[in-house]
Structures are given as structure tokens and as C-alpha cells.
Symmetry: C2
Subunit: 273 residues, 2 copies
């Protein structure tokens, strides 16, 4: 039995202390490079493989410094500071250029921590939306390879059918899951947080080139809570705040089908014109 | 004439390529270390001093790996990738421990970019609030040294007067400016984004130990727009989304008095119990 495409894409081989070799996956290809979410997941996976890992992922920032090309890459992972209950990591992904010189394609920082039972409170309830079963499939577009790796059921705020230049807002709500279904874990969640199409397409009803330059995800769910979500649906919500000078930001929230906030995520996105 | 305390705290001396020496400022002292905002500003200042700088700050992530102690520190700054219009930086702050060994206290990544005139849109208007002149001063607490460096006029959501354990929400709106007044720039804005007191105090009406572990700020204003804001007031808004397992997140927005969104900022905060 072959591995799930997600796990195949995240296959890493240790080649030295904190050094992991991988290969880009055609199954998660975007327009000019891998889907950003799979790159974030690879960063996370490399840290989770490290023998000195303390705790679970809390905060992940991934910066897309340059497009990855098809082929091998190396992930370099360093635990720069280990405290009693938290641990700080720096991560880089490198690929050789045409001259065989290593180039940094991705930088990242990650904080892991021991989760403790404490007072808890959700300030942002899940919006009331139709169930995944009530939402028709396939209204999200599937012209890109990586989109075939997700089952998406759009609740509101889809890619405009007409590019008439007059969008009203930037809010999208969509039920999401890996395709084929796969139990949710931190790596899958890191990727799901980047599934949303560029907010500017929706807000402006104009399809301009756009790409994430930096994404930060805060993981609110524990490994155990993710396990309880299993292969269930995840509700994603994304909205922009400001479009200016060729960049906009996006804030996203992802809930389990049971209404538990799994992560919040923010990104800065480049756009042309 | 002596320098503004903010500029004094950000005084850095180049001691090698990408290496800058500084000293913690008692004027911005928090409970157990410097105010996190001043540390973020120091990170940014070091990059802005670098001779290879391209463009202006767009996205800054600062991770507080360990409390800084009073005394000298070194900022190490590396331009890891320079593209045509964007540049990616990694930054670390180091301090020697008792044995004279360098310890990383802070990791950071920064993206700078050439800002271009493009289509623009604000999706989140500034809330309607009283003007700074209509808001009384000094209701924000000033028991910490660094709080004396800011003039704060609280619009709503102040530190609870009674710790009765029954807060309603986590939303604070406050007019802010440096004290004494100082023209706004990227470093000042990076610090202002961290001025808010811990959301858990408000939401829970219980004062538990809390501290930022990671902050990400997206700069939407250009240097020119910040210059136009001058020494005017900045409206800050902060709100939490989820409190769980000893960590909560905070989302913040900062507007100029004229209603222009200057930056959006997100942080993950540790709390006890």
C-alpha cells in the first residue's frame, strides 16, 4: 500500500545532526513551485523528527524567500534555546542553484512547548454555517495540482465567477479536508492554514498574480485534540485587513467540525499592481 | 540635548559585518527584563542599520527565547536572500551567561521590500471612538518603568479595577504615543504593537503571570505615511481569540489619528494556570 500523498511529500531522511534531505512533490505543485502549505508542513515535520524535541508546536513562522524548484532540498533545523517548558527553533530550507551552490529558499522559526491544563476560554465562537454535508462540492476551482489534494466545500466567498472588478468583501468560509481523508495532525493543520486562495481575487474581483511571503500559525489544539478530530472536516475562515503597496495581510481561523478552534493563522501576501 | 529615551535604548554600535553591540535600557524595564516592544524595535533597528538593506520593513517576527538580563547584548543580522524587490533577514540577540558563554535570548525574521503604488483598499475601518482629547489620561496603570515611556489614553477595556474573576471580553482600545512625543517611525511602531497588557487579565479579571513568546507585525504604512503621522496619536486595538493550555493569542491593529491602518500585529502569550 502506498503512502498518503501528504506523507510522501513529507518524507525526510536524516543526513546529519539537524539535517534532513527531501524532495519536492509533484502532487502538491502550485503555479511556480510547491504549494506554500506543504512547505510549512515540511518545516514542521523536520523539527518533529529532531531527537531533542520538547513538547508540541505552538507558533510557526515560515518565510518564503524564493520559489523552490522541482528536485531535492535540505532542511536544516536548530534548537537554539531549550527552556524548562518551551523550546525555540530556527529552520532553513536550502536548494542548490544551477552552479551547485546552496541557496536559502525558506526561513522559519518554531516554538514548541509542553501543553498544560489551565483555565481555558474561547473568545471567538465558530460561525454558524451549514454542515459539510449540506454544502455542494467543487466550487473552489481545481486547475492547480495541489488543489486536488484537498476536498473543499465552499460555504461563502468563493473565487468570483466573473472578474468584474467590483468585489464587496474578502471573507471566505470553507469546509476542508485532506483528499483522500487522513487523520489530522500538526503538519496537516499547518498546510490547511494556507489553503485559501488570494483574498485580493475576492475583494477586487480581479485575478492578479499573488503569493504568500510569510505565514505565522498559532496552534491552539493539542496533539490529543487533533487526534480526536480524526479525519473529520475542518472549517476554515479567511479575511484580509489591508491591501496596500503590493502587499495584503490575511487572518485565518480553523475549527474542528465540533466547533473547537484548532489554530489561528496570519499571512502577508505579495500582489502585483 | 540628550537623546529621546527610545533612541537611547536603540543605540547600536557596529562591531563587525552584521554585528551590532547595544546595552539594555533601564528606561524600558519590564518585570523581569526589557519591555518586549523595545526588543522588537532593537531587532528592526539593527537591520535598518545594515549597509545591504533593500526597501522598507514589511513583516517582522520576534521570538522571545529567554529573558534578557541587564547589560550588554549583541545583535547578529544576516541578509539570507535578496531578490529583486524583497529581502529576507534572520536576526538573533545574544547575551553572555555567567560563564561568559553567548546565549541566544531572541530570534527573529524580517522581510523588507520596495513599496510600490498599487491598487489599495482597507477592509477594516478604524472603529468610531472619542478623540484622544476627549479621553482622560492615566487609567492604564503605571507601576512598570516602561509604561512611563508612553502616554496612554484608554478608550475601553482597561485593566480591571477589581480582580473578581468574571471578565466579559478581551477587547481593548487605547490612544497611544511615545512620551515625550517622538515622530513615528517603523521602530516606534514595532514597539507600540506590543504595548497592550495581557488579554487574560481583562478576559478573566484575574492577574496571572503572562509574557509574550512570539510577536509578528505586518507594516502596512510606508515610511512616508509614518512621517505624515508625525508625533500624532495612534489608536491601538487588541483582542484575544483563544486561551488554552497555558497560551493565548492576541490580534492587534494600529491606526493613525487620521484613520489610516499603520500595522496589524499578532502575538502568542504564555500564561500561568
Amino acid at each position: 500500500m502506498s503512502a498518503h500523498p501528504f506523507d510522501a511529500a513529507l518524507t525526510l531522511r536524516e543526513i546529519g545532526p539537524g539535517r534532513y534531505a527531501g524532495r519536492t512533490s509533484p502532487a502538491y505543485w502550485n503555479m511556480v513551485g510547491p504549494f506554500g502549505g506543504i512547505t510549512a508542513a515540511i518545516v514542521l515535520r523536520a523539527v518533529l523528527l529532531h531527537p531533542q524535541l520538547l513538547g508540541e508546536p505552538m507558533s510557526l513562522t515560515v518565510n518564503y524567500a524564493g520559489a523552490m524548484v522541482e528536485g531535492p532540498f535540505e532542511v536544516q533545523v536548530q534548537p537554539v534555546r531549550t527552556n524548562r517548558t518551551t523550546q525555540h527553533w530556527t529552520v532553513g530550507i536550502l536548494q542548490n542553484n544551477d552552479q551547485g551552490q546552496p541557496l536559502i529558499t525558506t526561513t522559519a522559526t518554531l516554538i514548541t512547548a509542553l501543553r498544560r491544563e489551565t483555565w481555558r476560554m474561547s473568545d471567538i465562537p465558530m460561525p454558524e454555517v451549514p454542515t459539510p454535508q449540506e454544502v455542494p462540492q467543487g466550487s473552489y476551482g481545481d486547475d492547480l495540482v495541489w488543489l486536488k489534494r484537498y476536498q473543499l466545500r465552499l460555504v461563502s466567498g468563493g473565487i468570483p465567477r466573473e472578474w468584474h472588478g467590483g468585489g464587496d468583501d474578502s471573507l471566505t468560509r470553507v469546509w476542508m479536508q485532506d483528499q483522500p481523508a487522513r487523520p489530522l495532525d500538526f503538519c496537516a493543520l499547518a498546510a490547511l492554514a494556507d489553503v485559501f486562495f488570494p483574498r485580493i481575487w475576492l475583494r477586487r474581483a480581479t485575478q492578479v498574480p499573488a503569493g504568500t511571503v510569510s505565514i505565522t500559525t498559532y496552534f491552539h489544539a493539542s496533539a490529543q485534540e487533533l487526534g480526536e478530530t480524526g479525519t473529520g472536516w475542518v472549517l476554515g475562515q479567511a479575511q484580509a485587513q489591508e491591501f496596500r503597496h503590493g502587499f495584503f495581510d490575511q487572518s485565518a481561523r480553523l475549527w474542528s467540525e465540533a466547533g473547537r478552534l484548532l489554530c489561528t493563522s496570519h499571512q502577508l501576501v505579495y500582489y502585483k499592481e
